[in-house]
């Protein structure tokens, strides 16, 4: 916690203590000044939707400072073209990179520990081209740069994670919304499997707990969930266009659990239907109760 935040927090809480019963109100006022918890932006074209979502959240300048090194972590796990909705929409990634640069970022680095061949995934997903157009670096992950991170979770005590995500100034999670046969859905939290080293397919034995555990140590600056196209069956790999549903939607927020909680509704589910969302909320890693969140919906 930075000094300024600490002072702010102290001021707010002492005000709350001074006026018993008024804390939620004050909290809401403070929050309104910062912007909503979640922005759900819908429409076309996609780049404008992403821009509108960020604007409604207070602008990229709220998250990225001049000279920052920013990491964008899309889901590029599979060798698929964008229309199959198995990988994050390249326009979403590209626009975010542009917004980071506009906010003064020095470098934007993009990577994912892919399951299929990284060369193919980066290229076929369209993200390599989008990154190049925005001036961002597409990074092939380097096996030497994973380091054991203490997690002290319920399933994961420690695990090798990609060091760069802790070294960068800012970390932005850019997942896509898809089905997954074990976790139910793969949204923002599950996207952190893409920074895991080691034999990560072992975590499926206690997947929900493991995903919640990852959120104990990975705290992104911002999460932007791509639901331009969502994959409704045969996830997470897809491959059949009839499983793809076009929503033209982007969900942005700071609380990754809240983003995932809202993400479940895109599939007609409730947050508590998804085990890892439930566990993360129970562990106090974020809010899944949508009624407690200030959600701003905008159309472009």
């Amino acid at each position: 916690m930075k000094r300024r935040d600490f002072l702010k927090w102290t001021a707010v809480s002492s005000a709350g203590l001074a006026l018993p019963g008024s804390l939620p109100v004050l909290g809401r006022i403070a929050q309104a000044a910062r912007g909503p918890d979640l922005v759900v932006a819908r429409g076309t074209p996609t780049p404008q939707v992403v821009r509108a979502a960020l604007d409604a959240l207070g602008g990229m300048k709220r998250f990225v400072a001049r000279g920052d090194v920013v990491i964008l972590k899309p889901n590029i796990g599979w060798d698929r073209n964008p229309q199959y909705a198995a990988t994050t929409n390249p326009e979403v990634v590209g626009t975010l990179a542009t917004l980071c640069f506009e906010a003064g970022a020095k470098k934007v680095r993009i990577f994912d520990n892919t399951v299929n061949d990284a060369r193919r995934c980066y290229r076929q997903s369209g993200i390599a081209d989008a990154a190049a157009a925005a001036g961002a670096e597409m990074v092939v992950m380097d096996g030497r740069k994973y380091r054991d991170v203490r997690i002290n979770g319920t399933a994961l005590k420690s695990w090798p994670l990609y060091g760069e995500i802790f070294e960068a100034d800012k970390l932005i999670n850019v997942p896509i919304a898809k089905t997954h046969s074990l976790s139910g859905l793969t949204l923002a939290m599950k996207n952190w499997m893409g920074v895991m080293g080691g034999v990560r397919f072992r975590v499926h034995q206690r997947l929900d707990e493991s995903l919640a555990d990852l959120c104990r140590v990975i705290k992104p600056t911002l999460t932007v969930l791509d639901a331009v196209r969502i994959l409704t069956a045969n996830g997470p790999t897809g491959g059949d266009l009839s499983d793809v549903k076009r929503l033209d939607t982007v969900v942005a927020g700071v609380d990754q659990v809240a983003v995932d909680a809202f993400g479940t509704t895109l599939f007609g589910m409730k947050p508590e239907d998804i085990g890892h969302v439930r566990l993360a909320a129970q562990a106090g890693l974020g809010v899944m109760d949508l009624s407690k969140l200030q959600i701003k919906r905008i159309s472009v």
């Binding site: 193919r120 074990l182 034995q205 491959g239 059949d240």
Partner: protein
């Protein structure tokens, strides 16, 4: 050596062709698109030995076979210029030979004939349907050795070096070495470290070929190379001829520099079939008595291989056919369960007749799963490509192996067709599978299955663990109508050692005898020719 001689010119040309060869070799790697952008198998396309033996064995020729006619024509015109000026293995032999400081030995009287015997034997076996030429063909040999051994070893050495500096984390030094490493990764180094079964052995064989230069310079080219022998036969009628004028005082200087056994010293003895047109004899001649010119001078010193020799070689080559074919492994339904061939591979008999074991497919395979066979297909299938899913699965959207195959042993299939080719079927080992055997959730095989309708489906069941507690989990099953045997499931199965799901050749498209289902609701698989 101030004036520019033909020898200098030759060395420059050799260097350029070696550079081209290495460049195309390095380009034999995916950059993420499904095309490589370079004609990486160009040297093989020009190789008449490969075209001829493949045609004899399989009665088929592949796309760019006519390029080999260019080399045939060139040889008819100028003799074995390919050996002397172009062949990358010849150039490497030259380089290795420069380590030998002593003058060449007097050539053994008939050793040069060995390569003709090998050629006759290889032609005979291919005539009766066994394609072994690729084992000794110099281009195939070089590409295979580079792909499976030398390049991986180079990569390992360089990467280890940079890793060591990275771990030391020295100020100033490590940042520089990392920048250099990044540059090498972009240019000379492979995208990822290749690992090949038999890499050590194949590498030692190649180093052995180079080491033979210490016994005699260009030992391989003089005595063993079957392509050199084929070009030598064609050179007998070459219109480029060597003449020696009256100024020759038989000083013998030329004999010491001849790169082959062409007997340049005697006026009447010169063997056109052995001459590599290296021009050393011309350059060194103190009396300037040697001339190479078109249709001037005597035609040839003749090439008497001996009828007995030729007959013996022919029968040896022919007899190799039944000797190799008595292996049950070459029979349908008796073949090795793990003889998983690349997508688009011909039916096994035709495949063996076409594959020249050049290693191009193994070099280009994006996951590194294509490995050289040892005895999985019998000795006849030595070094032919086999998919070993635990090392690397067949990438669903990739068709590279079919693109680089010089003989069509692996057909070049349109992506949509390739995606329907079954390499085999996956099968689950319930004794090892976590949800079946250990009441432990796991769906990794299903998750990584690439077919649009997943070939692995999950059944939700309740099982009991040791304590009698009910566990709700999903157990995987393989749908034989959609499984293409790509091996992604086997590759990613978290069960260490022997994975709980493995692919075998059951159901592979290319073999009628290996079909599993009486009726295939997914429709007939694309036929293997």
């Amino acid at each position: 050596m101030s004036e520019l001689t033909l020898t200098h010119g030759r060395r420059i040309v050799q260097g350029l062709f070696l550079a081209l060869f290495l460049f195309l070799f390095i380009q034999t790697e995916s950059k993420g698109a499904d095309e490589l952008g370079w004609p990486v198998k160009l040297f093989l396309d020009f190789d008449p030995l490969i075209v001829l033996t493949t045609f004899l064995a399989s009665h088929r020729v592949e796309g760019l076979f006519w390029l080999s006619f260019i080399l045939v024509g060139l040889t008819l015109l100028l003799g074995r210029v390919f050996c002397g000026w172009v062949c990358p293995l010849g150039t490497l032999n030259n380089l290795a030979g420069s380590l030998r400081k002593k003058r060449p030995r007097a050539p053994g009287p008939g050793w040069f004939r060995v390569k003709y015997s090998l050629l006759v034997g290889l032609l005979a076996s291919s005539l009766f349907g066994v394609q072994l030429a690729g084992i000794l063909d110099p281009l195939s040999l070089t590409i295979r050795s580079f792909s499976l051994a030398l390049y991986p070893a180079m990569s390992y050495a360089v990467t280890s070096l940079f890793d060591a500096v990275y771990r030391l984390n020295l100020p100033l030094v490590t940042p520089v070495s990392e920048a250099l490493y990044a540059l090498l990764k972009k240019t000379l180094l492979p995208f990822q470290q290749p690992w090949f079964a038999q890499g050590t052995f194949i590498g030692l064989l190649f180093l052995g070929v180079l080491a033979l230069n210490l016994v005699q310079r260009r030992f391989w080219c003089r005595f063993l190379c079957p392509l050199g022998a084929l070009l030598g036969l064609l050179s007998r009628w070459s219109v480029l001829r060597r003449s020696v004028s009256e100024e020759c005082d038989s000083c013998g200087a030329c004999a010491g520099v001849c790169q082959a056994d062409a007997l340049p010293a005697g006026k009447e003895t010169w063997r056109a079939s052995e001459c590599l047109v290296c021009n050393n004899c011309d350059d060194i001649c103190p009396s300037n008595a040697v001339r190479f010119g078109l249709l001037k001078g005597q035609s040839t010193g003749g090439l008497d291989l001996g009828r007995r020799n030729v007959m013996a070689s022919f029968f040896a080559g022919a007899f190799a056919v039944p000797l190799l074919r008595i292996s049950p492994l070459a029979r349908p339904r008796m073949s090795d369960a793990r003889l998983i061939r690349p997508p688009g591979a011909l039916e096994e008999a035709a495949f063996l007749q076409s594959c020249v074991r050049c290693g191009e497919c193994m070099k280009v395979c994006i996951t590194g799963g294509l490995q050289p066979a040892l005895l999985e297909a019998g000795l006849e299938g030595l070094w032919t490509p086999v998919l070993v899913p635990r090392i690397g699965y067949c990438e669903f959207n990739c068709t590279l192996c079919g693109q680089v195959c010089p003989t069509g042993a692996i057909r070049r299939l349109p992506l949509e067709e390739k995606q329907r080719v079954r390499l085999g079927h996956a099968a689950i080992d319930r004794g090892r599978c976590l949800p079946f055997a250990h009441a432990t959730p796991c769906i990794v095989c299903e998750e990584t299955c690439p077919t649009p309708k997943k070939a692995i489906w999950l059944e939700e069941v309740t099982v009991r663990d040791r304590a009698g507690k009910s566990v709700r989990l999903q157990q995987p099953h393989v749908d034989l109508t959609t499984c293409i045997g790509c091996g992604a499931c086997e590759k990613h199965c978290p069960v260490v050692g022997q994975p709980a799901i493995t692919v075998t050749i059951a159901g592979e498209s290319r073999s009628q005898e290996h079909q599993l289902l009486l009726q295939d609701p997914a429709g007939p698989a694309p036929p293997g020719i």
